[in-house]
């Protein structure tokens, strides 16, 4: 079927279920407590594992004596790192991690040994019998110090503790800056934050010694990638491992990697032949982190007098923590994110990621976006002041539109970014408030974008990024098999809506089977805001494939050409004559009588990267979501406390397949950004010890911290998408820090350049003590807050 003509037809069509705020298909289970998460699983013969966490951040392992623990009654086995030295990482890019530390400890809380016992209590008691001796090395807890350290190396192979470097140059930045009328320049620091999912990582590994097969239940976002990581790391054939993802209690990117616990439980279950459960305590979850990278940024923007942007010159230093993880990708992603959402032609990017003795960051919602947007949107605000152009106007002058091609040849195939800018400016009455509110009250503008899935398949293969298979029969209705994971964002509901739209049948007639590597075909997984766009395409294509078979039967029965049929309210009818119809399930039955079950299959692969430059595989996307945001704040002039009073947001997510879910993504995404802007930071002392590994001291926003919301989904339809929809999960988180920083500037005239914007920083800035001065003073500690808390 010609996809393009189908899109054109559907663009003008009224949808039945797409565009409706239908409740979550699994919602009933979730509000009644029926929904099962990994830790809720109880298998026959279950055993329980606990991990001995390193009490130091950097050191040589001299002794891990587990002999007493092994003899403790109820203990079934104890393993140490050297028994399983195989290294892993995301997609095997520079593998550095091992299930348990081998020879050396690189971060506080790293596992040294693991105990499996008949109860969690016994496993915990046995941990106390493990005798550990570590020769402590100086901990490197600041990226600058780490880079300057030639002899204290975290990984022997990484010279100057450098994990990876990246450089890109498009156009001629030096020339463009020299010719610019206004150049603004500033350095920024964004903190390391944690995903803060309320469900800590949990795994149940169940090895069947009879079949020699392993089933792993784990709250992970990427079932198939996890399956690969397990197979490679514990040396098992891929098809002997089945990964099942139960309900996931929040992911936000932090659950895209294999935690050591998954490998530990798998190894132990294979060894003892019984199911092993390992659920991290909250402190262990924070030690394993995989949250957002702390980042030092130095940015120059050049503008002409009329406000057109001429050049962007960015250099960054990422604090990579102890391991490589997603580091390579985030480094290049920040480069890619500088090309949008403004039409800048001269771009230079230099990035470095260095190892430190800290919990390893990884992927977190608006991966690379928070760092890039914090710097770019702050500098836009500075330029607006310099140029005497309203920040809204300055963004409108430079905003990308449909069809824009970046200097990197990445194309924006659809954009309603300008509608977003206009929407928030109008609703907030920005022009009449900016620069005009009383001292202590401020309004700040920021904007951003995010990709709807990359061009890069996580495991280096040419196969489709998403595949969906559908079975339609009178015995089970329409059953969709698809590998995408619902981590709470609502993909199961959205995919069900898409299938229903094609078939014209109610939601309850569709079963969506996902999150199981045995049942669902390989999928790139839930990351990079790719589910609705990428998997949505696959589900739609599979449904169209199945529907065409059903239509052929109906066409013969009705004496109507198949392409003149439509399907609505479980009736297949002629588009020209409502009286010529057949019940959908009757047509399915007729097909089954002759040919058996109706099967359909469909897949989706985004356009592949073009051009010839370093890092080109990371960044290109078939679609981009856009956001514009305005924060109104109140700054307490005595204490420096910032309170966000009202938050305006406008989203271009194309057609909202489920508007209430889109609103939920926007509101949740903004509040996650607000947490980083104001209160969140993993605090590490000079020895690398995490000082706030709990939800009491590591604050995430509560009901008391959220502002009044005023958000709008702008009218949009991306014709390249399955039903016009594109990403919304990540863009809203990116600009929040900058919107609040810009609002603080508007309120009190001081420009904060670091998050979190604590009362101390604002207070000092208002008194003329620049906040960065304080950060430099504390370089041996790394964090401003650490100094304050550790004195």
């Amino acid at each position: 079927m010609d996809q393009d003509s189908a899109y054109t037809r559907e663009q003008v069509r009224e949808f039945e279920i797409v565009g409706q705020s239908v409740p979550r298909v699994e919602g009933y289970d979730k509000v009644t407590g029926r929904a099962k998460y990994t830790d809720d699983i109880d298998l026959h013969g279950m055993t329980y594992a606990k991990v001995y966490c390193s009490p130091v951040a950097h050191g040589i392992i001299k002794k891990v004596d587990v002999s007493k623990a092994k003899e403790y009654p109820g203990v079934l086995d104890v393993i140490v790192g050297e028994e399983h030295p195989k290294k892993y990482s995301v997609n095997d890019l520079l593998p550095t991690e091992t299930p348990l530390a081998v020879d050396k400890v690189r971060y506080f809380g790293e596992g040294l040994a693991a105990v499996v016992a008949i109860s969690e209590q016994i496993a915990a008691e046995a941990l106390a019998l493990i005798d550990v001796e570590i020769e402590e090395l100086p901990a490197l807890v600041n990226a600058h110090d780490s880079e300057a350290s030639a002899d204290n190396l975290i990984h022997d192979f990484a010279k100057n503790n450098t994990n990876h470097t990246a450089e890109q140059h498009f156009g001629d930045v030096d020339d463009a800056l020299a010719k610019s009328d206004v150049v603004v320049e500033e350095t920024f620091y964004t903190s390391m934050v944690n995903g803060g999912f309320i469900e800590t990582q949990s795994v149940v590994a169940d090895y069947d010694p009879g079949k020699r097969k392993l089933t792993v239940y784990n709250c992970n976002q990427l079932a198939h990638t996890l399956q690969h990581t397990i197979a490679r790391t514990i040396d098992m054939p891929l098809d002997d491992i089945r990964v099942i993802i139960p309900n996931v209690g929040g992911g936000f990117g932090g659950k895209t990697e294999a935690t050591p616990s998954v490998l530990i439980a798998s190894i132990m279950s294979r060894k003892i032949g019984r199911p092993v459960k390992l659920t991290y305590d909250r402190d262990e979850s924070i030690y394993q982190n995989k949250g957002r990278h702390a980042c030092h940024l130095s940015l120059k923007l050049g503008f002409n007098k009329d406000g057109t942007i001429q050049a962007l010159d960015l250099s960054i230093l990422l604090d990579g923590g102890a391991h490589s993880g997603w580091g390579f990708v985030v480094l290049w992603f920040i480069a890619a994110l500088t090309h949008l959402p403004y039409k800048v032609r001269n771009i230079r990017y230099e990035g470095r990621r260095v190892y430190t003795n800290k919990p390893t960051p990884g992927a977190q919602r608006s991966f690379g976006g928070v760092q890039a947007r914090t710097a770019v949107e702050s500098c836009f605000d500075m330029a607006a002041v310099e140029l005497g152009i309203n920040p809204y106007e300055l963004r409108m002058i430079n905003a990308v539109e449909t069809g824009y091609k970046c200097p990197s040849v990445v194309e924006v195939r659809h954009s309603e970014f300008k509608k977003c800018l206009e929407s928030v400016a109008t609703r907030s009455d920005f022009a009449n408030k900016w620069g005009k509110l009383p001292r202590g009250k401020g309004i700040g503008f920021a904007a951003g974008h995010y990709s709807s899935g990359g061009a890069f398949l996580l495991y280096n293969s040419s196969r489709a990024h998403s595949t969906a298979n559908i079975r339609v029969d009178t015995e089970a209705g329409a059953t969709v098999f698809c590998g995408v994971t619902d981590i709470g964002q609502g993909s199961t509901t959205v995919m069900t809506q898409i299938a229903c739209e094609v078939f014209g049948i109610p939601m309850r007639k569709v079963n969506f089977i996902c999150q199981d590597t045995m049942l669902a075909p390989m999928d790139n997984g839930t990351m990079d805001s790719r589910a609705t766009y990428g998997a949505g395409h696959a589900v739609k294509n599979a449904a169209l494939d199945a529907r065409s078979k059903i239509f052929d039967v109906a066409a013969a029965h009705l004496g109507v050409r198949a392409e003149q049929l439509q399907c609505k309210d479980e009736l297949i009818s002629s588009i020209y004559d409502d009286n010529r119809f057949i019940n959908f399930w009757e047509a399915v039955r007729m097909y089954q009588e002759v040919q058996g079950t109706v099967f359909g299959t469909g897949d989706y692969t985004p356009p592949q990267p073009r051009g010839d430059y370093d890092g080109k595989i990371i960044g290109p996307s078939p679609a981009f979501g856009f956001t514009a945001q305005i924060a109104e704040v109140d700054v307490n002039l005595r204490t420096g406390q910032v309170k966000v009073l009202k938050y305006y947001e406008a989203t271009d997510c194309g057609k909202a397949v489920n508007p209430a879910s889109v609103e939920g993504q926007v509101e949740g995404g903004v509040v996650m950004g607000l947490g980083q802007a104001l209160i969140e930071e993993i605090v590490v002392d000079r020895n690398g010890r995490v000082l706030n590994p709990n939800l009491h001291d590591y604050k995430i926003p509560t009901t008391m911290d959220v502002p009044e919301f005023d958000s709008e989904i702008v009218d949009a339809y991306d014709p390249t998408s399955a039903y016009g929809g594109k990403e919304v999960g990540e863009a809203p988180t990116g600009p929040v820090c900058a919107a609040i920083m810009n609002a603080v500037y508007d309120a009190v005239g001081v420009r904060l350049t670091e998050v979190p914007i604590t009362p101390e920083k604002v207070f000092r800035a208002m008194r003329g003590q620049h906040s960065r001065g304080l950060e430099l003073e504390t370089t041996t500690i790394g964090f401003h807050n650490a100094k304050i808390r550790s004195v």
């Binding site: 705020s21 009644t32 999912f197 209690g249 939920g664 509101e667 008391m704 959220v706 919301f709």
Partner: protein
């Protein structure tokens, strides 16, 4: 030394053998298989484990089973009656106050406790009343919408008898 305690949970009597340091969360999740009560921190920080004891919301991860004898305990499993949802459950479901769902049982039980104490809370009272329940997904907006809809009577038709309240 383990001991037998007699607990009244969701209207049914349970005799369970518990250690003195066993919490109600441990008992319902691990011994009785009622896993609707969630654990997010086990330190009383996140509110995911909220249950009702004599109609008031309590954190089951820091409430000892041995101290709960003779009290009326209600968990998320006890709200739905004969296949019919409590108005708060219905509202959270329909208003999409649920995303990943891990905080949801605690949110619903806290809301229940709040409305038991104050059937007509205003927005500020809802904000304060729900401040002990962390949710990382929703930004709380849709949770407020759901509770306000219940307060305004939008779900009265769906009402089931108040559970766990005096």
């Amino acid at each position: 030394m383990k001991q037998v305690v007699h607990l009244n949970i969701n209207g049914s009597p349970y005799d369970v053998m518990v250690a003195p340091n066993a919490t109600i969360a441990d008992v319902v999740r691990r011994q009785l298989g009622m896993t609707g009560t969630k654990l997010g921190c086990e330190q009383g920080d996140c509110g995911a484990c909220t249950i009702l004891i004599d109609g008031k919301s309590h954190l089951s991860c820091i409430t000892l089973a041995v101290a709960s004898e003779g009290k009326e305990i209600v968990t998320i499993e006890g709200l739905e009656q004969n296949g019919k949802l409590d108005p708060i459950q219905q509202a959270i479901l329909e208003k999409q106050g649920v995303q990943c769902g891990i905080c949801t049982p605690g949110v619903i039980m806290s809301a229940k406790g709040l409305l038991n104490e104050n059937p007509k809370p205003n927005h500020e009272e809802i904000v304060v009343g729900m401040s002990g329940n962390l949710c990382r997904c929703t930004g709380y907006e849709k949770i407020f919408d759901a509770i306000e809809a219940v307060v305004e009577g939008e779900y009265d038709d769906a009402a089931t008898p108040q559970v766990g309240a005096e």
